[in-house]
């Protein structure tokens, strides 16, 4: 039995479709409701829905054998897990954004508002730039508008939220997509099951091969 942690929400639905299409379906999951665990003994899987940023914790600690997490979460929390596949869904970019017409004043410490403080620190440390990280949990776009920060570091999918708030991308830090991750110990003790899963998913080729 493989325990699979899926991120709740739109990405999770898209990812479940992939699992189902390669023979790891669990029909009850489509019924909705508030249940969090779904099991399919005949396909040898048990799925559970968790908060997207928690998937890596479930996998790292072995409560789930495998899981699906965004590259953003993996970069930010650096969990000690195997990163086996790029599922090619949930594609977006980690970006630096600023109010339109922003000019960076290199004399001063750059104030950066973000949910991803580690990513922001690593990115600016790589360019020798001193920054002041302002950790926020939501509505990051508000920070530069109110003068709380100079720029933001955040995920950009279509850019609509940025445009509507009169912000624009000034630098791309890295591309983001959903990854199949595995617990290191499970990978060994359930090697047959996990490598079969990986093989089936990569043979099918995700929607990412566009």
């Amino acid at each position: 039995m493989l325990n699979i942690a899926l991120p709740k929400g739109r990405l999770g639905d898209a990812v479940y479709d992939i699992f189902e299409s390669v023979g790891y379906g669990c029909p009850a999951i489509r019924e909705g409701g508030r249940k969090l665990i779904f099991e399919s003994p005949e396909n040898g899987v048990r799925f559970f829905w968790v908060k997207p940023s928690d998937v890596a914790i479930y996998v790292e600690r072995g409560a789930a054998d495998v899981g699906v997490a965004g590259k953003d979460i993996l970069l930010e929390y650096q969990p000690d897990v195997y990163e086996l596949l790029d599922l090619g869904v949930g594609k977006c970019r980690m970006c630096v954004a600023a109010p339109k017409g922003f000019r960076e004043d290199t004399d001063r410490t750059l104030r950066v508002a973000t949910k991803f403080s580690r990513i922001a620190r690593t990115y600016y440390a790589g360019r020798g730039r001193e920054i002041d990280v302002i950790g926020l949990n939501g509505s990051i776009e508000l920070a530069p508008i109110l003068g709380l920060s100079d720029v933001i570091v955040d995920i950009v999918e279509t850019g609509t939220t940025l445009r509507e708030n009169n912000l624009e991308v000034i630098e791309t830090i890295c591309p983001i997509s959903a990854r199949l991750i595995a617990n290191k110990s499970s990978y060994k003790f359930k090697h047959g099951e996990i490598s079969a899963l990986c093989r089936k998913i990569s043979e099918k080729g995700g929607p990412g091969d566009d």
Binding site: R61, K184, Y187, H191, S195
Partner: protein
Amino acid sequence: MTQEVLKNEEKAMLRLRALYRRYGYAQYKMSKFEEYDLYARNKNFLPCDYVVTFNEPGGRLMALKPDVTLSIVRNTRGSAGACKYFYNENVYRLSADGREIRERMQAGLEYIGELDVLAMSEVIFLALKSLETISDRYLLDISHLGFVGGLLESLGLRAEVQADILRCISRKNAPEIEEICARHHVSQENTRKLTTLASLYGKWEDVRETLLSLCANEKMRAAVFELEAVLETVRALGGSGAIYIDFSTVNDMNYYNGIIFQGYVDGLPEGILSGGRYDPLLQQFGRDAGAIGFAVYLDLLEHFHRPDREYDVDVLLLYDEATPPAVAAEHVRRITESGESVRATRTLDENVKYRRLVRLEGGRAKEAGNA
């Protein structure tokens, strides 16, 4: 009885101690503290940057030891011939999130001296045996840094790109290796070699041909032959077949060289044993010798297959004011002599779970059933 009193990690330690002694390793006992200077001068060889320090009344800066190997290597400086030691010590390190200081119970074994195939094989064999004392569902992953390093060197990439690729290998992240290779114009053939190396997992017989096909230089070939000789000797010592080749076991390239390994037991999410060959540390101390060893993180066993305790005590002996002490004492003695545990008390504590209740009223026993 003793088995029930001891915790998982304590039981494991008793068995490990007997095992290591049987193969001629002597226990190395050390003090809780070391002079901070030792760690300051050897920062590269520490598992983490943080060391808990304090001042001795005399003014010397002392540290709670974050590592045992360093102390053993330093304190055995003068010895001629091979040093074979095992230890069971607590070390003090930062928790993974870097917010707390943790005490970790560690057992380990070190072989310092001239390393030949038998020396390396014996240590790996004892690593296997150590895992066997913990669980019958275990395995040991082995890697060789000469092999991984040899392949990376053959590509002629900058050091930081090599470090990025190494990080991907440790996560079995083949997709990202492909991206990095594409960015740095690594040939398709070499990219395939790197992703094969990262994804490879299996028993020696199943991966041997693949390893030989990956060899790009003498360094890699030498590593393959060393692995082969060692694995053969481990078998000759009576080692089980639970050994797998896995190059994602990279540990720390500053510290280790040559063969490295990591042990897992089913049911624990992380490796419980980690070790390898660490000649660079010996060189740091100006010694012309090799060293190989491993540590077992016994504290991880705390939550491993912990049986839920049904009862806190066999007999709850509840005595009243009118019971003479000698009579109560006599009951306590009789119960413990019969092999049961007893908790004598005047008041009933609802949190204590007991198998049966004995009430002493005015010195007379009344047996009541279970709670």
